[in-house]
């Protein structure tokens, strides 16, 4: 009796990422990181961006706790942006944010967002948009600190 909307929100891909998140585990050496808190539920994330010698972001490392949406979103983000330049990542964040704020009107661009496009249906649940955005906001803040 679980509705298709709910099945869509919690696709297997999302549940898998939430159960075995990628990029989980902070590193000791830190160039730039950001801590973000969702005050309504107490969920939090610390996310690090690790630049490589060529200036691209070699890896995302994060730790946090939260709902399946927030954990999967952080994991999908880490997968997506590894190896990208800062402007490329910022573009993905902007596109993702626009889709999340669209209340279901904008389908996420799969070409730009890859598997993270699976989070598209979150935008129809206004209360959950913050969960999906948490890691992306943390990344944006960390990239800003990178200068």
């Amino acid at each position: 009796m679980t509705s298709s909307d709910l099945q869509n929100l919690y696709q297997e891909l999302i549940l898998d990422h939430s159960r075995t998140p990628h990029g989980f585990g902070l590193r000791d050496e830190v160039t730039a990181q950001s801590h973000q808190l969702n005050p309504t539920c107490g969920d939090e994330i610390t996310l690090q961006v690790h630049p490589g010698p060529d200036g691209t972001i070699e890896a995302i490392a994060w730790e946090g706790h939260g709902c399946a949406i927030s954990q999967a979103s952080a994991s999908l983000f880490a997968d997506l942006v590894e190896g990208m330049t800062v402007p490329e990542i910022q573009q993905r964040i902007d596109v993702f944010r626009e889709a999340m704020r669209s209340r279901g009107k904008i389908e996420p661009d799969e070409e730009l967002l890859g598997d993270a496009a699976a989070l598209g249906s979150v935008s129809r649940y206004v209360a959950r948009v913050k969960c999906a955005m948490l890691a992306w906001v943390a990344a944006e803040d960390a990239l800003r600190k990178l200068g």
Partner: protein, 439 residues
Amino acid sequence: MSSPDALTDAEVLRIREDFPILHTEVNGHPLVYLDSGATSQRPLVVLDAERDFATTLNSAVHRGAHTLAAEATESFEDARGALARFVGAADDEIVWTSNATEAVNLVAYAFSNAAAGRGGADAARFRLGEGDEIVTTEMEHHANLIPWQELAARTGATLRVIPLDDDGALRLDELETHITERAKIVAFTHVSNVLGVINPVAALVERARAVGALVLLDACQSAPHLPLDVKQLDVDFAVLSGHKMLGPTGIGALYGRRELLAAMPPFLTGGSMITTVTTTEAEYLPPPQRFEAGTQRVSQAVALAAAVRYLDEVGMPRIAAHEEILGRRLVDGLAAIDGVRVLGASIDLPRVGLASFDIPGIHSHDVGQFLDDRGIAVRVGHHCAQPLHRRLGVTSSTRASTYLYSTEAEVDAFLDGVAATIGFFLGGVAATRDIGVRS
């Protein structure tokens, strides 16, 4: 209290007819509203009272010589009387506030303002400073914690916090060490908004009295669900919130013992609370008007009075008996589901119809989302009680809470939903996964 008859199924169904919202559908399912602990639904008589006031009497109270103004004032003061009788107080011991949070702040700022030298000679008993102590508990809603943290910071007094045991119950064995001769006020909740347990008020009051401290009772989760008599409980202050007891939002109340209110300096100042004003100073009205600065929430007060009359008509002892049964069904039903940890389940105290739980491996937001898909409304998060959750080793929980209109069938639908939640999210995955540890 003798053991009253609980509401019959037929009576509950008749009560539900008074609440239009209970007949709506959510996500294709009949609404199962189990979030009354956050805000209760309103019966037609409450909505009608507010509308009737606006359509027949609306005007400013306590000023103006015209007929409507006089009648509006009478309705406003009648409402005060209705609430006063509902909690066992005298009319002039009830101060209207926006909500319970404002009521706690009113008392905290009366202490603060007394410490700053405001108020007459009688205000001396509210003066706080270094060496004085404010006592609250680890169980409190943030509304009964943060105002005291701020009061301590402003005055130099020390905030003492009565700890909880591993189950989440107040450590009564710590009362003597935490409520000492230095204590000026002891503020605690009657019913935990997370655990649903009814605290042993008498034990705390007895200790506070022994050291000469005042007592403030957070009655937000008790006034809607239990017969409440502030005189019998022997508390000095009590706070409550209208929207949790069938009333509108934007209205709450402070009960204060008459001689205490009379000695307290005001919190909010301005119009409607003065006698004589010059450009340099003002004299204040006696309570309760001294604490009701500015335009009051008149139609909300009138509607809240309709709410308490409605509750009285059904009968608070019978409502309490009904919800005790539902609360037991909630706790027992949740405890019987593999993988569910009910917070405070083993506390040996009477409880209301409210239970919070954690499912290791599934975040409360996901539980709430899954239940919402079935039209079941519950609260998720920390319920404005972070210290309590931290003490119990969880960041958040899911809470189901009942009211007089809740049915056993709704509790059962909720329990089915929780079991299905576990199947959906954990399925073949063991509940002991590392995700659970991280949460």
